[in-house]
Symmetry: C2
Amino acid sequence: MPPKKSFPQLSKIQEVELIDDLSQWALGNGLVMYPKDFKPYNAAYAPVTLFPTPFPRSQFEKGIEVAEKFGELYAKVTSNYEWLSKAIEELSQFDKGFTGKLWEVYLKAREFGIVQTKSLGLFRSDYMLDTANGEERIKQVEFNTVSISFGGLSSKVGELHSFLNSKGDYSSDKGNYYRDEDLPVSDSIKGLSEGLAQGVRYYESSESVKDTVVLFVVQHNERNVFDQRLLEYELLKSGIKSKRLTLSEVESSTAIDEATRALKLKSTGQTISVVYYRSAYAPYEFTSEKDWHARYYLEITRAVKCPSLLTQLSGAKKIQQVLTSKAVLGQFLDKESIDTLHDTFVAIHPMDDSEEGLAAQKLAFAEPERFVLKPQREGGGNNIYKQNIPEFLEGLPKSEWPGYILMELIHPPTLKNKILRDGVIIEEGILCELGIFNTVLFDESDGQILYNKAAGYLLRSKTSSSDEGGVAAGFGCVDSVYLY
Amino acid sequence: MPPKKSFPQLSKIQEVELIDDLSQWALGNGLVMYPKDFKPYNAAYAPVTLFPTPFPRSQFEKGIEVAEKFGELYAKVTSNYEWLSKAIEELSQFDKGFTGKLWEVYLKAREFGIVQTKSLGLFRSDYMLDTANGEERIKQVEFNTVSISFGGLSSKVGELHSFLNSKGDYSSDKGNYYRDEDLPVSDSIKGLSEGLAQGVRYYESSESVKDTVVLFVVQHNERNVFDQRLLEYELLKSGIKSKRLTLSEVESSTAIDEATRALKLKSTGQTISVVYYRSAYAPYEFTSEKDWHARYYLEITRAVKCPSLLTQLSGAKKIQQVLTSKAVLGQFLDKESIDTLHDTFVAIHPMDDSEEGLAAQKLAFAEPERFVLKPQREGGGNNIYKQNIPEFLEGLPKSEWPGYILMELIHPPTLKNKILRDGVIIEEGILCELGIFNTVLFDESDGQILYNKAAGYLLRSKTSSSDEGGVAAGFGCVDSVYLY
Ligand SMILES: Nc1ncnc2c1ncn2[C@@H]1O[C@H](COP(=O)(O)OP(=O)(O)OP(=O)(O)O)[C@@H](O)[C@H]1O
Ligand SMILES: Nc1ncnc2c1ncn2[C@@H]1O[C@H](COP(=O)(O)OP(=O)(O)OP(=O)(O)O)[C@@H](O)[C@H]1O
Ligand SMILES: [Mg+2]
Ligand SMILES: [Mg+2]
Ligand SMILES: [Mg+2]
Ligand SMILES: [Mg+2]
């Protein structure tokens, strides 16, 4: 192994040329988003780092190694109705606003009858490199089971950094600064699309139909639409068509066949084999009972859901916390897998009135700077960090505390990469989060796994001063790894 | 052959979906330009047609069939110094402002000594479908030998229309409206890059050097930069790097080796094997004597020029006019080629005091609506059309008339395609111009041809009410063919 390289050292002139090449490559190759208040005919490049960010090869490989084990774990959690329903039922008391609503919708669907037991997971397990013990080891931030994003742009940013490297922009003599094999490009576009295609193929063969489509359930005015489109284009290469509808358009644009519960597009009669949510992960998205009804409506169809309500619920932060117990893990996995996965966990504590919960409640006030407090929410911007925890808890009725989890902070290294955003360079140092994608097709009735495959990676970086790293929200950017 | 299809008939709802798919595909796949007053981090999709435009297959194939013959013709014209110098010398009298300046620069370079006799042509022969005699036959509008554009975006718009077709957006049942084989995607990105690569490889083998680069001589603040970048990306795939400089940056950023006249980048020492102009075709681009000197400076280097001054000058509209004579063509081509090429010509008349010229001067006043009057200019917006001709000529000293040519108008059919531009649909009907790209590497000292190959096509469409069809200028858009 050659020694670890520091970031390229460029003169001002070289940096100007790099930014020129980068900007136009990004705009010319789909590494784009819609800007705020956008017009449909104008796009901006996504915020990106100038350079790929160093990441220890062993830890990158570890993330990939555990991806399918996590896929298996969450498939099994989802399929263990007895266990999951108990956990979610309880959690619903403390998070009536969202977990409770989702659970209510699920119970209603279950009562009516759920005809599709096959379930598709497009998952992303997120890690930070923890430096706490002098070593660098990946530690899980969270496990996402619904509407995971950036699988499209991640492939693109890897291509971008590889392009800049081959172009010679990272070295003053225009040679390659990095070796190609140290700059892996994420194959998440292919991997995630293949996951969706598995759902389509399963449906078509089991129902003996052809030319079915994937329904992308999307948000109105989505700014990150190009990330989603990349999956649509890849699907179409395999002959699979897709249709985009918002939650509120679903019921007027589709119909359910009474006999088979097949879901069809009214306009064309096409059968929808897979319902793929790129929305419906946050309460603010449900603006009326109609939207909640649409979620119910889709759940009772024969289409394979990605994710089903149970799969989405298995991604609750509370479940993540419960799964940090080896005893609990032992209900789902073999001994070796338990150790391997557990290795990636930091401590996460409940905030309920169990013994551990009571201890955690004290810790939250005594040593808040060690923790992040998380509600059952997705999409960023919901957590409470460090010194803000005590005041926040004081403002919250104690009866609601169990809806939160208290997680130890991971301490990633601050790195001297630079972020480019709307033509402005931010140089204050970055923190990185590595996401590993995984796709699983499984049967919720018996936990049988039909397909389980790691599906590329995402590196998101954020300025070191911000607690959160949302790319669209403006805190972070997409990045790629340089492995050392 | 299946019968010719009319344009897809879509409902309003279908058209909205088509435009959504189109807009995001274009923005996500590099079918983009910088908008007016742009910021480097924002791009807009290029103006495009919603549908591919019907074009008779036989005439499309005819254009491709004659491409290499035209390549040969212009290589031979350029290499016949005696003939060309006489024509250009004379023309320089009447167009002192540009032809005269270019010729002056050439003579100065010749006097100093031109060391590179190999010359690279990236050409585009433009046609319209003439309906004058009840038949549809391609007739040449002009032959471009310098800074031909849209080879990049042309491949992209073909891919776009093919995508929309496969997505089912052209048919109400989401099937394929067109057969794939009737929607040829232009291979101009590959073809033009391969032309440039031929220049690089020739240089590297004859000079025994490696890792040379292609210099793109570009305009400051180019809005059509993505079209150019596509060629750079394709070159890089073959390991060939490129560098972009404006004419005014050339001399400070490069140096000429005294002994060999090799042109090198100062910053890195890289040798420039090919100088590729995407600029320097219009007088307004030369803002100072420094710019004119840069054109001279590049001409005396060992780099292969694309185009050389002689090659650029061979593309004068005056030369096009002279070449409409079979007798003149006979000096360069065999009998069969003469007939084939001549078939694509409409009448073009000189405006000098030859017998034909005097007759043309009368015609220009008597039947102006049959003609377009063209000066020796490139880049659009310079011609005088129909009824405007008499008044224009009256305002011009008669001594300058011979700097113009009088060309018969071609009468293309008006077609019911729709143009999309910045979110607005223009439905007034379109006129099309088909460009066929060609690349030639040849020796100007003896006319020997080392490489000659057709390189894809461009279909540009404009609203039927406009005389000119500049895409960047806002008159036209990029399009692709549906062959019938
Ligand atoms: N244990 C931790 N240690 C350090 N930082 C953390 C930790 N947990 C969360 N963060 C930071 O907070 C951000 C948001 O947390 P988290 O990913 O759990 O929330 P989320 O709302 O589910 O986000 P997403 O939008 O990714 O679904 C993370 O991306 C990370 O930057
Ligand atoms: N003989 C003709 N009949 C009909 N239209 C013509 C004719 N000649 C030119 N035109 C129209 O005028 C436009 C400009 O003419 P031409 O291409 O000769 O000029 P140019 O300045 O060299 O353009 P370019 O930007 O393509 O180099 C053409 O694209 C075409 O639309
Ligand atoms: Mg997260
Ligand atoms: Mg999350
Ligand atoms: Mg033209
Ligand atoms: Mg021209």
